[in-house]
Symmetry: C2
């Protein structure tokens, strides 16, 4: 099943359906079209008609609440947020060149996409249930998709801190790029947690629980964690490693692609960058000599605090092999680690090393 | 004048007085004693008796206000915050090994210290003046100390975003480690902005202005910015470069010191780490083989969101030259850039590369 995606989608796994667009499609604009947006799933895709969907809000709230689709979409004021979602495993392919990472999809550069999401603020829905606004609480999400990879097998779930959950950018979304949220992307309703790894934007959400501890779901307590390099993921205990949440500062190159041949002469290098925690991208540096000297890329206008920022730089290239290296700086002066080798971890998450492509420049 | 500091203080400049403690003194505990806390100044130290000090709050407020020392210390409820201050130029010495940085103090490892600060919340004082709580405003601080290095020569000042200024950790402090705030550290009253570069914690503050743009003071608009490597600081225009604010994730080694000889056998390596933006330090890695393999340091308990976290690791070392490399990870899975060479910038700010010391291990 192609789920309305482009014919040239790169399918990493048919079941569960995991696929990323070709880079040139992703480069099409600041907003990714529905047929191009990457797909990352842990189980079969649920089929829930809107009139059957409902959401239960419970746990540390004064008045537990169940909402139908009609109630959610009519009772709460809705808003749009342009947000980039990125799979925590994006750019894993570069880590795989360092050491093997068994059992994980070899995502290349395109498990990242941007859409305009439309829905109710999660904060408003939590307030309607009389959420206890205490420090240190967590908001857990449960979904119906069953993940065979989980140990033990279980439906998907995860959690975010209450402090993030009540931020104005966090939505219960039922539209994506002004269309009803497609089934493949979590329709009829999903959570959107801008700035966090995609795994926290739980699709087909049916239960929200306010609780004093993070979710004990496999994907919160065990997977989606950065283990130290020497750890064995098969024997790691729940809670080991650094749980992923905020997406670190990162960037990547849309064009040229790695290994691509390009003609000598003017070359426009293009890509994206995104800062952590809602910070802005202040500078993107491009090097054609392996990081010895740098030139600054032109930054496209900011579309949203929670969206990637596109950049480009036109350079003149001579006929020869060439490496393009790119790094971003955020508005506090933070830049990225240099090398994937330093970032290798047993589950292959969070690669935010400098971006590199090797290019072969040929005569006209 | 020694300002009550230890006899073994390393003075970088007598006038204005800039000095850092020896590393072994800094390693003395999570709280730095008054005689050990680093000194970073841009002008002569003002001498303001508490009964003459006053603070004016103006700009975008409903009721501009002037407070005496007695009014500030009696009218507002006071609180303590343990916070690490760090000079944006700390670890510049490592950048100097990459390329020269003329006209700047060659801070080594000790322009960083931690104290318990006690004072009124800046938020409460701003509220007493009826601050306009609008998005995008700034809070500018002015002080009386005149900086000969500024172009043109001017009294010290800077600003922080209003969103940070009203955070509960930001203080107008009149005590440091339960003592009246020493004159050398900004007494009778200074601003404390935990998590921001030390330069924003303005000493001897006399005027606070709420305004729609950042401070135009030399130290906000021109200095304390990360310029791209190819820029000439002498011709940089106001607003060029990335203004420093939040201190990036960083770590350093207290012991052993660079170039030190240590006996073969058990060696306890010790140091500090601090995450950005109030995040926690999740892991500190120590390598004795240049980053090929790593071991995890033991982390001391968290004393405050805004304080460094001390760490230690006992290893067995053999008689040979050895490099100790250390890097920290924050609670979102971010780690530090590898090399000072990648971070070199014309004013030498923000070095948060992996920490290194070369050690000579000798026979017992």
């Amino acid at each position: 099943m192609s789920w309305g995606k482009r014919a040239d989608f790169v399918v990493r796994n048919e079941s569960p359906f995991n696929a990323e667009p070709p880079l040139e499609a992703l480069a099409g604009g600041a907003i990714t079209t529905l047929d191009t947006f990457y797909c990352r799933n842990h189980g079969d895709i649920p089929d829930i008609p809107p009139q059957q969907w409902q959401l239960t809000i419970g746990g540390m709230v004064d008045t537990p609440l169940t909402l139908t689709y009609e109630q959610l979409t009519n009772r709460f004021s809705a808003r749009s947020v342009v947000a980039t979602l990125v799979c925590a495993g994006n750019r894993r392919a570069e880590l795989l060149k360092v050491r093997p990472i068994p059992g994980k999809e070899p995502w290349a550069h395109s498990a990242v996409s941007t859409a305009e999401w439309y829905g109710a603020r999660l904060a408003d829905v939590l307030d309607a249930a009389g959420v206890h606004r205490k420090d240190g609480l967590h908001v857990a999400f449960n979904a119906p998709d069953v993940a065979p990879e989980a140990v033990p097998v279980q439906a998907y779930g995860s959690s975010i801190p209450l402090s993030k959950a009540v931020s104005e950018e966090v939505l219960l979304a039922w539209q994506m790029n002004s269309e009803p949220l497609p089934r493949i992307h979590g329709g009829p309703v999903r959570v959107i947690v801008p700035g966090y790894i995609g795994a926290r934007s739980v699709k087909w959400v049916h239960t929200i629980t306010v609780q004093s501890t993070p979710s004990e779901n496999y994907f919160q307590a065990l997977d989606y964690r950065i283990l130290p390099p020497e750890a064995d993921p098969a024997t790691a205990a729940p809670g080991e490693g650094i749980p992923l949440s905020v997406v670190p500062l990162n960037c990547d190159i849309f064009y040229p692609g790695d290994g691509e041949a390009v003609p000598a002469g003017p070359l426009t290098i293009r890509g994206w960058a995104m800062a952590a925690d809602g910070h802005d991208v202040a500078r993107v540096d491009v090097s054609l000599d392996g990081g010895r000297t740098w030139r600054q890329a032109d930054l496209a206008p900011v579309t949203s605090r929670w969206s990637w920022r596109l950049w480009s730089l036109t350079v003149d290239v001579l006929s020869a092999p060439m490496t393009v290296t790119v790094r971003a700086w955020d508005d506090t002066g933070v830049t990225q680690p240099e090398s994937p080798a330093s970032l290798w971890n047993p589950r292959g998450y969070g690669n935010n090393a400098w971006a590199h492509v090797d290019v072969n420049v040929t005569e006209h």
